[in-house]
């Protein structure tokens, strides 16, 4: 029990590290996922190919491998950034592939006629997507996006192995200090639970507000 009270600042730093990773990587994943989903339904063939390649590569690469590729690969090309930023890049890009697919399946639930009507009125692809298709797709994609972001929060633990301060990584210090490993993990789990339940709650509210049936 003392493990928490004795090491509150260590836990706190780890917790904040995970929160930061989650928030920044989520933002990146949502933006990139949105762009890639637009690419995948675009009328221009080369955009569709780019979106498909992006999703296929990122979704089928183990996340740990992606971390290695980013942390060790990018510096070779002269791109040296703080580990935290690399971690956000890896997590965000990886998750964007899943967000993209969630959005695309949401887009596919909107009847074809909606987009056709918009286009027949002279609206461009971007206007059709933005004003007609996505607002209707949005309602159905709220719950699966929530799940994807919860997975992201948990996946952020991998960053700890690359000397990024985050919640899971605190166990190393604590076990070296000789604390009971079971309690150490219990409090780490509670930390993750707080984050994931917060995400659940946010998406629950969004669903209540926007996810109403027509």
């Amino acid at each position: 029990m003392d493990v928490l009270t004795d090491n509150f600042s260590l836990y706190g730093e780890g917790f904040l590290g995970t929160v930061e990773l989650t928030v920044y990587a989520s933002a990146l994943a949502l933006v990139l996922g949105f762009v890639m989903a637009s690419f995948r339904v675009a009328p221009v063939g080369s955009f569709r190919v780019f979106g498909t390649v992006w999703v296929t590569v990122l979704r089928n690469t183990p996340l740990t491998l992606l971390f290695f590729a980013v942390m060790l690969g990018l510096p070779r090309f002269g791109l040296v950034l703080p580990f935290e930023v690399f971690a956000v890049l890896a997590l965000g890009c990886y998750t964007s592939a899943f967000i993209c697919e969630v959005l695309r399946s949401g887009i596919n639930t909107v009847p074809r006629g909606q987009g056709e009507a918009a286009r027949s009125l002279g609206m461009t692809f971007t206007q059709t997507l933005g004003a007609v298709v996505l607002p209707q797709a949005f309602r159905t994609v709220i719950p699966p996006i929530g799940s994807t972001l919860i997975a992201l929060a948990k996946n952020s633990a991998i960053a700890g192995a690359f000397s990024v301060t985050e919640l899971l990584g605190t166990y190393k210090t604590l076990s070296e200090l000789g604390y009971n490993i079971v309690w150490t993990f219990v409090w780490i789990a509670v930390g993750y639970l707080i984050i994931t339940l917060t995400i659940s709650a946010i998406f629950h509210v969004l669903e209540k507000r926007w996810g109403v049936a027509r």
Binding site: G113, S120, L121, A131
Partner: protein, 248 residues
């Protein structure tokens, strides 16, 4: 048929779905102010023809010209030309997440760049014209089919199109709602709107159409005035078709 002032011209248009040749060397000219009714058996390519005219369906060869301008490929130029040719669908396709008023105003704001108040004003005017001014704040799901279709017509009219395309606008409606939609269309025809109407409503064809185009197997088989077509069809296909639909 000789057309004095052509607005929509199709020349040698061909389209396949896989092995199926849905449009075969179609030539069709629609004059300004003309009402052309397209009829024909199911699967003959009427919808495809209609959708090709604003390039919701791409064609493989041939030329489609709207008011002197060939239909461009995807992109802004195509969007601009589409705004000039309104389309009314069998299944209405009103934007489900927007009110009736917003349905009619949306493209005016996005495409015609009108201010919201100006667009809404125009929308209310058009809703009044189709007899639905009282329903402006409702959502499409709260309206009957006939009312939804009249909103769809108002929405198309809001762009001040040069022509309107109708693909079986009354086929999804209960019988008692068909007339309210046909009346709106009759009025448009009298006001001189250029219209291409795919329909099985022979009454409308007789009273409103300048020409009847009969399609079968992806070809235009006959293109004549309604009187001529209904009283003395030339082709066997048309005779056969008319005997089937006029029986009931």
């Amino acid at each position: 048929m000789a057309v004095v002032d052509p607005l929509i011209e199709l020349r040698g248009v061909n389209k396949h779905y896989g092995a199926l040749h849905v449009l075969q060397d179609v030539d069709l000219t629609v004059g300004r102010g003309e009402v052309v009714v397209v009829i024909g058996p199911s699967g003959s390519g009427k919808s495809t023809l209609c959708r090709a005219m604003n390039r919701l369906e791409r064609v493989e060869s041939g030329e489609i010209v709207i008011d002197g301008q060939p239909l461009p490929d995807e992109g802004k130029a195509l969007a601009r030309l589409r705004a000039e040719v309104g389309m009314v669908f069998q299944s209405f396709n009103l934007f489900a997440h927007k009110t009736v008023l917003a349905n009619v105003s949306l493209a005016q704001i996005k495409v015609r760049k009108r201010k919201r108040e100006e667009a809404d004003g125009r929308s209310r005017e058009l809703l009044d014209r189709v007899g639905l001014a009282a329903h402006a704040e409702k959502y499409p799901a709260q309206l009957s089919g006939g009312q939804q279709q009249r909103v769809a017509i108002a929405r198309a009219l809001a762009m001040d199109p040069k022509a309107l395309l109708f693909d079986e606008p009354t086929s999804a409606l209960d019988p008692e709602m068909i007339n309210e939609v046909l009346e709106v269309m009759q009025q448009l025809a009298r006001d001189g709107m250029t219209m291409v109407v795919v329909t099985h409503e022979m009454g409308f064809a007789r009273s409103a159409a300048n020409r009847v185009v009969f399609m079968a197997d992806g070809r235009i088989v006959e293109d004549r005035t309604p009187e001529e077509f209904f009283t003395s069809p030339r082709s066997e296909r048309a005779k056969d078709f008319l005997s089937k639909i006029l029986k009931h």
